[in-house]
């Protein structure tokens, strides 16, 4: 297997961004589907080709005076493969969904004459490239560079509707808060480089206890900001001003997972952090889960509701990772597994909301009910997404949540009851609200807003969006199987 495929994989979304920026109209739409398919093909090629010889190594760039190795390394192993698969699969579906979403008859955000589309597609592609970079990063420096690229793309994409003050403000807020995390990442980088003269992940493991603790805390702040954990979660609900496919991709499936990935990577490479770091991380994750849960009940906007659910689910992942330090490898694996399982489920939910909102013009839970009467496929897919996120078999998060429970129960001492009780509460009450909302949306009495729209068959292009939703719904079943070999190899 030629490791240069990784370089091609990384370069292609950046080159694709330029193409998408220059193209117009039909050609742009065709490219918006074709290019992500190419990225996915390259990704599959790299992963499948490298599976027997993990980790694959390559270099994109070399600065002899900087690093001990003098290169900017790329590396592909099981953990990278999981993130890559998530980013590339969901990326393709979201880009494809966008070509129907960014159109004049979208009642949520009408787009006339393709205005702003070139910027939109270019930055989506750039974002894919940045996430690929995060996944393939072979050391902290490379990771940091692409990390900031995701922040930048996120800022542009959230503020896509530049004439709406709210969306500009939301983009700015997201930029400031996630960049604050980036600052802490720089501090961690500086400490590691200053003390060891290298940026490699493994160097963190060689630090003395105190600097190691400082590095860990800095990384935790950076990851918390990116993955919307307490107390830096408030940018995510506001970021729902973004076009819905962007919310589906950046703020549910991919970008917010970068923080989780950073922690997963560092924990995996470092081997051992002291157990207090695990307790701290688990505590923060539990608080995040609870705060997210409480906010569920106050949301009337479907997207904000889903955003808080994302916050809580990211808490699950962080909780899973923290179990590594508390003595349970199963919990760590479950956290990474949940990353993949949650991505497809939450992307499905967001795209369903997008499909509904572009027809209905509203996203309010109180105004949408009985959608089965007009949009049966979107409503059913939303219900499936809800089952998948809350963990009903055979859908994705069932498996990861089950594994997480197994991980929690492997703990010794007071940690087990202290974690399992709030976990139980969160899962049960989360299910309560999701079921309430999902049932109302699917089975309830059709509301006036729903009855006012045309049925599926009368709207052009619905078959296309419904097709994407169905593919995602099928993926909620298949995703655990797709990533299983890599999760097992962790």
């Amino acid at each position: 297997m030629n490791p240069d495929v990784m370089v091609w994989l990384l370069a292609s979304p950046f080159a694709g961004a330029i193409l998408l920026y220059l193209a117009r109209g039909r050609a742009q739409q065709a490219l918006a589907v074709a290019l992500p398919a190419v990225y996915l093909a390259l990704g599959v090629l790299a992963i499948a080709g490298g599976r027997t010889e993990f980790p694959l190594q390559a270099a994109i760039f070399s600065l002899p005076w900087l690093d001990d190795a003098g290169v900017f390394p790329l590396r592909l192993d099981a953990l990278s493969a999981i993130l890559l698969l998530v980013v590339l699969i969901v990326g393709l579906l979201v880009m494809a969904f966008s070509i129907r979403y960014m159109c004049p008859d979208n009642r949520e955000h009408p787009v006339h004459n393709g205005e702003g589309n070139n910027r939109y597609y270019a930055f989506l592609s750039l974002f894919i490239g940045s996430m690929v970079g995060v996944a393939l990063a072979g050391n902290l420096l490379v990771l940091f560079v692409f990390w900031e690229c995701t922040t930048l793309s996120s800022w542009v994409l959230i503020s896509h509707h530049v004439h709406q003050p709210l969306s500009v403000r939301a983009g700015f807020k997201a930029l400031v808060m996630t960049h604050l995390g980036g600052v802490f990442l720089v501090i961690a980088l500086a400490v590691v480089f200053g003390l060891t003269g290298t940026f490699s992940f493994a160097a963190i493991g060689q630090l003395a206890p105190t600097p190691q603790a400082v590095v860990f805390l800095c990384l935790l702040v950076a990851a918390s900001a990116k993955s919307a954990q307490v107390p830096l979660f408030t940018w995510l609900p506001d970021a729902m001003e973004a076009p819905t496919p962007v919310s589906a991709y950046l703020h549910a499936a991919a970008m917010v997972k970068a923080g989780v990935y950073l922690m997963a990577r560092v924990i995996l490479e470092t081997g051992t952090f002291p157990s207090w770091t695990g307790a701290l991380m688990a505590g923060l994750a539990l608080v995040t889960m609870m705060v997210g849960l409480i906010f569920y009940f106050y949301q009337d906007d479907l997207k904000r509701f889903l955003a808080y659910s994302t916050i809580a689910q990211l808490g699950y992942m962080m909780l899973g990772l923290s179990l590594f330090m508390l003595g349970s490898k199963t919990g760590y694996v479950a956290g990474v597994f949940h990353l993949a399982c949650h991505s497809v489920a939450k992307a499905l939910l967001f795209l369903c909301v997008g499909a509904m909102a572009m027809r209905l013009g509203v996203r309010s839970i109180s105004k949408i009910s009985g959608l089965y009467a007009r949009m049966p496929i979107a409503a059913t897919c939303f219900f499936i997404g809800m089952l998948a996120v809350t963990g009903i078999p055979p859908f994705s998060c069932f498996w990861s949540k089950l594994m997480l429970v197994v991980g929690i129960m492997e703990l010794k001492g007071p940690a087990m009851p202290l974690i399992s009780v709030p976990y139980y509460v969160e899962v049960v009450l989360g299910f309560f609200w999701f079921l309430k909302v999902g049932q109302r949306l699917l089975f309830g009495e059709p509301s006036a807003a729903v009855l006012a729209i045309e049925p599926d068959s009368a709207v052009a292009g619905t078959g296309f969006t419904n097709g994407i939703l169905i593919v995602l719904a099928v993926l909620t079943v298949l995703m655990p199987l797709i990533v299983y070999p890599f999760v097992r190899a962790l």
Partner: protein
């Protein structure tokens, strides 16, 4: 090997049937096809399962384990195994689902969405059968939740009614919460000291865990018990979902829910408390807990059934009561496991036998209620009456079922309850004296059950015809509807007259639970008779029940009574009710369901009216999402940290910007001062 294929073939058939009926959809000939095809599939799959059950119960020992998949991430394997207990449950599920599907052919004739109904029904049967054959507690949850999901969708099948949606919500939410408790319990046991999730591995590691970490082990067991009790519909957990869910579902599904699904909660209890947990000092304690739950359930459930006016709701509460009997039997068996294993075996067989009987008569009663609904469009017992003139076969079956559930000899309910009473009385020495009171409570409640069923019969099939019944016509599909009910009624009577057949089956089913009850020989428990049951205690016969003899005596007495009545030569005449000469609407003179047991109702009414409950319900029903308030303000750092911080920073910056006001010559001064400071800083750094 061929039996394994049979088993997997049964599951494949159900999936295939679900897929075909889903693809076909409803409407026209396709609906017609689906209705019969669904029956054929259920019958064929049931045949496969029955063949496997017969193989296992026929003395060939357990089938499997067949390991289908073994993931390396967790210590679990997707393996299936059919032992005698599983075989018993498979038999029960296949039999009842066949009756329900048979009934459904008639029931779904006018149904709008046949294409939506059959896939769910078949998947529901698939889930139930899956639960009892999985041999591993990790993968146990897949069919378990599959069953919950499909039955939820069946409960909200008639989604045009808001109350059905609320019933489905309650069902799914409450049972999912229970399932999670169950999973936490299971993982606690495995994580605390087990080697894997397999039943046998768990059983092997259990003694060491109970000795080394008793608090953890018993907490886990409590969670498991609660999880299964929620599904079984035991008081108090069942009260939260069962009375709402059973009426909401279409009648064949109600029959399956009550006749088969809730029993799978008991299946879990049997697996864990009788097989995985060995008998020991803790057995008595757990037996007391289970028996107490059972007694409470039979008391509250049956008494609550007494005041219901909705036919299916009444039956649903009665199910909570009947589950109590089974739990009482199992609790007694656990409690007696260490002191008197043979008596424990009698109690266990009694509980299992009651389960079998309950599947027959409660399934039948729900089918009866469904027929009434089909004929009149009513479930409200107040609006029924005199239905025996419209659907005589159903009425006769309803009488058989009612007498069976009330435990009247020689019907089947009597035999199983008798075993439970026997164990409670004979096992109540010393510290086990509460068992006596449990037995007495169960005995009294048996009479209450009769009162409940007399209300059910009196308000629906007997008495004057209500306006709704007068308008009613017999359903056109009566052959399908009637034959399925007739078969179940025949089973009730057959098991009643020949209890030894049922007891033998249940004795075989209990064989894998030897960890608790040992391996007593059948004849040393129930005697060697074929028709009469002779209960033994250390070789001495302590009780005899010969239903054939009793039936003969009762029949003879009945014949004499009829003969006496005939020979008296008195004439009967039918006349309208006399209303003191005033002109009253006959409807007002009818004795309706609401008129039964009014003193009792006024007695319990204060207990049911909890202050504040209605107000809370009203408030929670009014609004979907509460508006943001203090809670969100406190939890959102935006409001008290970030926004004030940003505002403060902006204010400071504005102040700094204020320095630009004034003479333009001052700006260069600022620059110079800044430059000077930088130099000083650099110089300091240099040194």
């Amino acid at each position: 090997m061929d039996q394994q294929l049979m088993l997997l073939g049964g599951f494949t058939l159900l999936l295939l049937g679900a897929f075909v009926t889903w693809v076909l959809g409803g409407g026209g000939w396709r609906a017609e096809f689906s209705r019969h095809f669904g029956l054929i599939i259920v019958a064929a799959a049931g045949g496969c399962f029955t063949s496997v059950s017969a193989f296992v119960l026929g003395g060939h020992g357990a089938l499997g384990p067949v390991v289908l998949w073994q993931p390396s991430l967790v210590n679990a394997s997707l393996s299936i195994r059919v032992d005698a207990l599983s075989a018993f449950f498979l038999l029960l599920i296949s039999g009842l689902s066949l009756a329900a599907a048979w009934f459904a052919v008639g029931y779904t004739r006018k149904m709008a969405d046949v294409g939506g109904f059959y896939p769910l029904l078949l998947l529901f049967v698939f889930g139930m059968a899956g639960v009892v054959v999985v041999d591993d507690f990790f993968f146990f949850f897949v069919p378990w939740e599959f069953m919950a999901l499909s039955s939820y969708l069946l409960i909200v099948f008639h989604r045009e009614k808001a109350e059905n949606l609320s019933a489905g919500f309650k069902y799914f939410f409450v049972t999912h919460a229970g399932t999670l408790a169950l999973f936490f319990g299971i993982t606690m046991l495995v994580g605390g000291g087990g080697s894997s999730f397999g039943f046998h591995d768990m059983a092997r590691s259990m003694p060491a865990l109970l000795a080394a970490r008793p608090i953890l082990a018993h907490t886990g067991l409590l969670l498991i018990l609660i999880g299964f009790l929620v599904k079984a519909g035991c008081f108090p957990f069942g009260m939260w979902w069962l009375p709402a869910a059973h009426p909401a579902a279409p009648a064949p599904v109600s029959a399956l829910l009550s006749g088969a699904m809730i029993k799978l909660g008991l299946y879990g209890i049997l697996r864990v408390f009788f097989q995985i947990v060995p008998a020991g000092p803790w057995s008595f304690g757990w037996g007391m807990v289970v028996a107490t739950f059972g007694t409470l359930s039979l008391l509250v459930g049956t008494l609550a059934a007494l005041v219901q006016n909705d036919s299916k709701r009444l039956l649903a509460y009665s199910s909570i009561g009947q589950i109590g009997y089974m739990l009482l039997g199992f609790g007694l068996a656990l409690g007696l496991a260490t002191s008197d294993p043979p008596l424990a075996a009698v109690a266990l067989v009694g509980g299992l036998f009651h389960m079998l009987n309950h599947a027959c008569f409660k399934g039948l009663l729900f089918l009866n209620a469904g027929t009434f609904e089909l004929a009149t469009g009513e479930r409200d017992l107040d609006r029924l009456g005199g239905l025996n003139r419209i659907v005589p076969v159903t009425a006769a079956c309803a009488i058989v079922a009612s007498l069976s559930i009330a435990g009247l000899p020689p019907f089947n309910g009597f035999s199983s309850k008798w075993l439970i009473y026997h164990a409670s009385v004979w096992g109540s020495q010393g510290p086990r004296v509460p068992f006596l009171f449990f037995g007495i409570a169960a005995l009294i409640i048996s009479a209450v059950t009769l009162a409940v069923m007399l209300k059910f019969l009196g308000a629906s099939i007997w008495g004057a015809m209500s306006p709704a019944v007068k308008r009613a016509t017999p359903p056109r599909e009566m052959p399908w509807l009637g034959s399925s009910q007739f078969a179940l009624a025949a089973l009730c009577l057959g098991l009643g007259l020949f209890p030894m057949a049922g007891v033998w089956l249940c004795y075989l089913a209990a064989a894998p639970l030897a960890a608790t009850i040992g391996t007593p020989a059948f004849a040393s428990l129930f005697g060697a008779g074929r028709f009469a049951m002779e209960l033994q205690d250390r070789g001495a016969v302590v009780g005899v029940w010969s239903p054939l003899a009793v039936a003969l005596i009762l029949g003879a007495a009945f014949a004499i009574a009829i003969w006496a009545r005939r020979s008296a030569g008195s004439t009967e005449r039918a006349a309208a009710t006399w209303a003191c000469g005033s002109d009253v609407d006959t409807e007002q003179l009818r004795f309706k369901a609401g008129h039964y047991y009014t003193p009792f109702k006024s007695l319990v009414r204060p207990l049911l009216a909890w202050p504040g409950l209605a107000a809370w319900r009203h408030a929670s029903a009014r609004r979907m999402t509460p508006s943001a308030g203090t809670v969100t303000a406190v939890l959102n750092p935006d409001t008290w940290a970030y926004n004030p911080l940003v505002a403060w920073m902006l204010a400071v910056l504005r102040k700094l910007a204020g320095s630009r006001i004034g003479l333009p010559q001052i700006y260069p001064a600022w620059n110079l001062i800044g430059l000077a400071l930088s130099f000083i800083f650099l110089l300091l750094l240099w040194r």
